[in-house]
């Protein structure tokens, strides 16, 4: 029986963090295997796992088979109990809130949208309270066993304090979103940049599982990116990192809104692609869907626009691979539908392979569209990560 009266397991030692995170992201896994992968002793693994078993977060599966020759005892793998706790995640855009409830394994069990009448911080906080109330009201289990809310916002976010320093799409400067949301919802709130949140979800529960270096690139109004090195998100000494959109792959042009030249974003961001397609086809009212349709129908000028965008993205990703050498790169984002990715893919892969240095060309590239709801799932994954990471001073 799951019972909230039981104390919640919390992370108080590096060993507890290592053991629980391994079972959460790579389980079911035996204690012997955990010991091997973490370098901890068997006794330390058992000691670290115990409070999580007692609090209902981990369960021992039935022993199935002996592991390897001479293994004395059959291995009883440890697995998470996904319904032990639920997590809320909300992506905040300038026009709506997209919310999900996930279980402990980051599987989405409920979702909802809610339009925003304005982006005034107090309004957003009130709408957040209404949205989370709606979602939690859908099951007694959510209401009883959900205490953590993750929020994903584009822009410059200080996760440690929950402060949104700057978010251009929301027109926010120094908004204490964490504080406002805690006040409005009564939940424990973590705020993170949206691309970083998506990266956390991929690293713990998606394509990045088991890798220690990993990157995610998103194509949208801007070109976003976050990088994981040695299992940690790279944050940059001055808060700037992962700005792959401003890697200058275009030589002396085109100019970019950032003041630079030849930036990937100025070639492959959605506004740049749309602008180029309108010019190439001589249709000032062309939509992105229209540009995609024209390219799919074989219009050479439209195809060339996507080819140039794909080449720019491939070059920038090669620059990243040459500098950092991630094991995998996931490319995703807000392009409408699979078709747009297909138009980019060949050129992206070709220029990546041409420009990646030596073995860096073997870096695995994964391209796929991602429904908008996944941004909210990323926010929930950040709440999970916050709960189960040893907090630094």
């Amino acid at each position: 029986m799951l019972d909230l009266a039981r104390p919640r397991a919390t992370i108080t030692t590096p060993a507890a963090a290592a053991v629980f995170t391994m079972v959460l992201t790579q389980g079911p896994v035996s204690r012997v295997e955990i010991a091997r992968r973490t370098g901890l002793s068997s006794a330390a693994v058992t000691k670290a796992a115990r409070p999580f078993i007692e609090a209902g977060y981990l369960a021992e599966l039935a022993a199935t088979e002996r592991t390897g020759p001479g293994a004395g005892r059959p291995a009883s793998p440890l697995a998470v109990r996904p319904d032990r706790e639920y997590f809320l995640g909300v992506k905040i855009t300038h026009e709506e809130l997209i919310g999900v409830v996930t279980d402990l394994r980051s599987e989405v069990v409920a979702s909802a949208h809610r339009p925003l009448p304005s982006t005034a911080p107090e309004t957003v906080a009130a709408e957040l309270a209404a949205l989370t109330g709606d979602l939690l009201g859908r099951s007694p289990a959510y209401r009883e066993r959900c205490r953590c809310l993750g929020l994903a916002v584009s822009g410059d976010v200080d996760r440690a304090t929950g402060l949104v320093r700057y978010s251009p799409f929301l027109s926010w400067h120094d908004v204490p979103l964490g504080e406002l949301a805690t006040g409005a919802t009564g939940l424990a709130v973590t705020v993170e940049n949206d691309v970083k949140a998506l990266t956390v979800a991929e690293h713990w529960f998606g394509e990045g599982v088991g890798t220690s270096s990993f990157a995610l690139v998103t194509i949208g109004l801007g070109i976003g990116c976050a990088v994981v090195v040695d299992d940690r998100l790279v944050t940059g000494a001055r808060g700037v990192a992962g700005e792959i959109g401003h890697v200058p792959v275009g030589g002396d042009g085109p100019p970019c809104h950032c003041g630079g030249r030849g930036c990937v974003e100025a070639i492959a961001g959605i506004p740049a692609v749309l602008h180029a397609a309108r010019r190439a086809l001589g249709e000032p009212e062309l939509t992105l869907d229209g540009a995609i349709a024209a390219a799919r129908a074989g219009d050479p000028a439209a195809r060339e626009v996507f080819a140039r965008a794909g080449t720019a993205l491939g070059r920038a990703m090669a620059a990243m691979a040459n500098l950092i050498g991630p094991e995998r790169i996931v490319v995703s984002g807000d392009l409408p539908g699979l078709a747009a990715y297909e138009l980019l893919e060949q050129h992206l892969r070709q220029s990546f392979t041409q420009q990646a240095f030596g073995a860096a060309a073997d870096c695995l590239l994964v391209l796929r569209p991602r429904p908008f709801e996944q941004w909210a799932r990323g926010a929930a994954a950040v709440a999970i990560q916050t709960l189960f990471t040893l907090q630094e001073r």
Copy 2:
């Protein structure tokens, strides 16, 4: 009295590594301050420091002043005893060995060159033995208190095993240099890529001290680079990282030997600069010194060659700053003399500032020529680092 009969202090715990490294790289520093910076308890700091004091590596300085209001005991800062142990470092080029002896603080106390009759691995090992014998023979202190040798080689090096996988300038494939050098010299040998070795020296004893993210760029036949994130050298999932020379900043050209296009190395590497200068001035026999002299004398075509090289370097460094956000970048290398750096500097800084995104533009750039001997000092620094780092499994 220093006495080799005393056991050498070795690193057996993360706390020992943290405490000793902090005193070594940032000392003198009080135990209270070490505890504050490392997050260890005072008791843990005292316990970790004791074996190093007993073995003569650390000494307590005389207590000087009380630290802060209400401080009960005067602080006795800990400092390293630089002459407790000496370290050999050798840079191996295709034509000579450059060797140094440094003390524990990485100060060069002796140096020597030795031409190489060939780059055959056995010949190199024999010449290494002769060179190190020469250097150690210069003082009884060196002979008594030097047991570690660092070797720096350009190319692909596996530091863990001492294997040089590939070094184009030496025409080496899979040479077990660590083993050969240990056999020939009887010393404990660490082999490292030369740019990484220089980066270790800067990170522990130079411009990088106190930073946790840091990069070094070297200008030479190629453009080299190594990156430190979270106090660790980035190695790349497939052994490729820091290849800033192959960041494509030139748009569609020029072609590079790597198969890519627009690589920094194809614009700003010494051969590319010389080639461009010869064409621009119409002098097929022009030397690099000649090109530098022409630019210094105001020849516009020659100046333009250096301007383009500086711009390409600045853009690539901005790409790195945007992706990783290092606290500082040191630019150095094999260009002859200060004049060449002056020709590059203005354009490099200007294009860096233009292309760096937001606060990344505040990254400190340090440009300076570096005598060749410093590569050997880097090799010795790697030997120091190996001795005082907790070895991972």
